[in-house]
Symmetry: C2
Subunit: 348 residues, 2 copies
DNA sequence: TCAGTTTGGGAAAACGTTTTCGCAGCCGGT
DNA sequence: ACCGGCTGCGAAAACGTTTTCCCAAACTGA
C-alpha cells in the first residue's frame, strides 16, 4: 500500500498523476481483473478480498476513468442537448428536468445553443457525435419551429422536447389545449360567465391550441365566448394594456373574466384595469399562461396562470431518450403532457 | 473500398456499426498508422497516399472517435460548467460566451446546475471528474456568493465566472463600479445635476460597488448626490414605484435624474413617474443596470441601462481556463471586466 | 558496385477499463 | 486413490486512437 501511496509522481504538467485501477490492484496485491470485479460487485471472490480492494480504492481516492469505460462499452453515458432558446425561458426548466432525471443514472449533458446559423449548429452536432454522445435531445423556444440543424441523419437516438421534429420522430410538448381548459374551468367554477380571450400572434401554434381549449371548455358548459373571436395581438404587455381598454370601451358591456394567452399580456391587462379603477379579481378575474415567475408573481394581485410543467417535460424526454439508448422500444409520435393551474389571487 | 463499404453490418443494437480508422485504412490499403497520419496531417508520406486516404475517409463519412483520442492523450477536450442560477439570467449569457470561445477549439461543455443541495452538487462534480473534464468553470447568480460545492480540492484547473471563489483563485466579474460611473457620467453630460440613486439590498456586493461608482463620478464633477445616501430597498418594481413617490414628495425639490440599481427598479420608478405626470426623460432622466431586455426594452420610454457584458465575461473565463489546461501560466486574482452603457431613450 | 541518405510506410505500444475464459487448489464422495 | 465440482483469482483481449521507432526500397554520389 505504501508502494502505491508514494506513487504520486508529478505528471500531466504539474498536477498529480491520476490513480488508476492498476494502482489499486497493486496496493491490494491482486490483479487488475480482480480489482475491477471487486469494485463493480461482479464476479466471485472471497468477501475479504473484495473488502480489502474497496478499502484500498477509497484510501487512494480512486476515481474510475469513465473515458476508458466508454471506449470499451461503446457507451459514453453522455447526451447532447441542443437548443435555439438563447434566452433560456423554455430550455432552462427543460434542461433542469433532463439533468435531474439522468444524473443518478450517471448520464451527463452537453449543452449547445445553435442559434439561427446552421453552420455553427452543425459543427456543434459534429463535435457531440465525435464525443460519442449516446443520444441527442433537441429543444427550442417554439414548439412549432424546427431547429436549424438536421438531426434526421445522425445515427444516435433523438428526441424532441418543446420543439417540432420531423415526421415519425419522438417528441414531447405541453398540452396547451387542456391547459387552457383548466384555466377556463376554474373561472367558470368561480361563477364567471362572460369570459374573453386575449392572446398572441395567430402564427404561433400555441395560439390556436389555447384558443381551442378556451372555446371547448366554454362550449361544454353551454357558454359562448365574450367576443366571437379571440383578440389577437403580440406577446407584449402593451398589447394586454390596449386590449383592456378595448374591452372596457365595448358598449355591449364588460366581461367578468379574461383568459390571457401569456403572462405578459395578463400583466399589461391587469395594469390597465387597475388604472381604470376596475377591480381584479372583484370585477374582472384574470388568468395567464406560462407561469413566468418574474411576471406572474410581480403583478398586483399575483397572477393565476397555467404552468406548462416544463421540468416534467424534460424529465420525460430524458427518460425516453434513455429507453431508446438502451434499446427499449418506444413508439414514435408526439406526446402532449398535461399543464397545471397555479392559483394565485387574480382569479378570486 | 467495396470491402469496407459493405461492412455496415448491424451492431450496437440495431444501429449501423461505427466506421473506424481501421475501416478507412483497409479501404485505402494502408496501415492504420498511415491512415492516422494522413488524416491528421502529421508524418511523411506520398501526397497521393494522403489524398487517397482523405477521400476514402470522406466517402465512408469517417468520424474520429474523440473518446479513444481522449484516452490516449489524457485530454478530453471537455469542460464542466457549474451554476446555481436556475433561472439562467446570468449564467446563460456567460455560458454562451464560454461556448463561443471554446467550440472552435473543439471543446465541449457539460452543464450542471447545483442548486443549494450540496450533495447532489458534489455528485455532479464527481460525474464530471470521472468523465475526465479538462477543467471546470463555476458560475453563479451573485458575485458575492460561493457555490455550495467545494472545488478547491479537485485536481483540474478551475476558474470562477460571476461568482465568488476561494482565496488565490482565478475569477472574472463585471466592474460594476466603473459601470455606474458610465451611467452617471452620461447623465451629467446631458446636463443633469440633481441625481438620485435608488438601489437594492445593501447585503448584495454589487450595491455598494454601484453606489461607489455613482458617488465617485459625481465627486469628480464636483457634484453632490441628490440624497445623502443611496435609497436602498429590494430588487423589485414595487420598490422602484415607492421610491419614485418618495422622491416626488420631497419638499426640498425633485431630482432631474435617477440612477437605478437594476432594471426592475427602473421600470417601477418610470411607471410611477409617468403616472404622476412627470415626463421621462423630460423632467427626470432614468438609467438602469443589467440590460435585462425583457424589462429594459419594454419600459416606456425604453430604458438606458448598463450592460455587464456577461458574454464577454464568459469568453474570457473560457479562454483563461484553456490557458490553464494547456499549462500556460495565469496569475491568480479576480479580474473586473468593463461594463457598457446601452443608450435608449429614458435618459434623453 | 557500394556505402550512405532519403523516402514511404508499418508494427507495436500505450491510454484505463471490463469481461471471458481458464487454471490451479481444495473438498467431498465413492 | 481417483474423479467431479466448486472456489478464488489471473491472463489476455478488446475498445479506437496516436506516436515512436524501425525497416525496406529507392535514390545519391563516387
Amino acid at each position: 500500500m505504501d508502494e502505491a501511496a508514494d506513487r504520486t509522481l508529478p505528471a500531466r504538467n504539474g498536477r498529480a498523476a491520476r490513480v488508476t485501477i492498476h494502482d489499486v490492484a497493486r496496493a491490494s496485491e491482486v490483479s487488475i481483473a480482480t480489482a475491477s470485479k471487486a469494485l463493480s460487485g461482479q464476479g466471485r471472490m472471497a468477501v475479504a478480498t473484495r473488502e480489502r480492494v474497496k478499502e484500498v480504492a477509497k484510501a487512494l481516492s480512486f476515481r474510475p476513468n469513465a473515458i476508458a469505460r466508454a471506449l470499451l462499452k461503446q457507451r459514453s453515458f453522455t447526451i447532447g442537448l441542443l437548443t435555439d432558446d438563447t434566452y433560456g425561458r423554455f430550455t432552462l426548466p427543460v434542461m433542469a428536468g433532463i439533468s435531474e432525471a439522468l444524473v443518478d443514472r450517471g448520464v451527463s449533458v452537453f449543452l449547445c445553443s445553435v442559434e439561427r446559423d446552421s453552420a455553427v449548429g452543425q459543427s456543434h452536432v459534429d463535435a457531440m457525435l465525435e464525443k460519442q454522445v449516446d443520444g441527442i435531445i433537441a429543444s427550442g423556444k417554439r414548439l412549432d419551429r424546427r431547429l436549424s440543424v438536421d438531426l434526421s441523419v445522425v445515427d444516435v437516438p433523438v428526441v424532441y422536447a418543446y420543439c417540432e421534429g420531423p415526421e415519425g420522430s419522438i417528441g414531447f410538448v405541453s398540452d396547451d389545449r387542456a391547459g387552457a381548459c383548466l384555466a377556463v374551468e376554474r373561472l367558470m367554477a368561480l361563477g364567471r360567465r362572460r369570459i374573453a380571450h386575449v392572446t398572441g400572434p395567430a402564427d404561433f401554434a400555441v395560439v390556436p391550441q389555447r384558443a381551442r381549449g378556451f372555446a371547448e371548455a366554454l362550449a361544454r358548459a353551454g357558454l359562448r365566448p365574450f367576443t366571437e373571436h379571440p383578440m389577437v395581438g403580440d406577446w407584449s404587455e402593451a398589447w394586454g394594456f390596449a386590449a383592456a381598454e378595448r374591452l372596457l370601451a365595448d358598449p355591449a358591456g364588460r366581461p367578468d373574466a379574461v383568459f390571457c394567452g401569456n403572462d405578459q399580456i395578463a400583466r399589461g391587462l391587469i395594469d390597465a384595469l387597475t388604472l381604470r379603477g376596475v377591480a381584479v379579481p372583484g370585477d374582472i378575474a384574470v388568468v395567464g399562461f406560462d407561469n413566468w415567475e418574474i411576471f406572474a408573481a410581480a403583478t398586483r394581485p399575483p397572477l393565476t396562470t397555467v404552468d406548462m410543467n416544463l421540468k416534467d417535460l424534460g424529465r420525460h424526454a430524458g427518460l425516453t431518450l434513455l429507453d431508446l439508448v438502451e434499446g427499449r422500444p418506444v413508439p414514435p409520435g408526439v406526446r402532449a403532457l398535461p399543464c397545471r393551474l397555479v392559483v394565485r389571487r387574480s382569479c378570486g
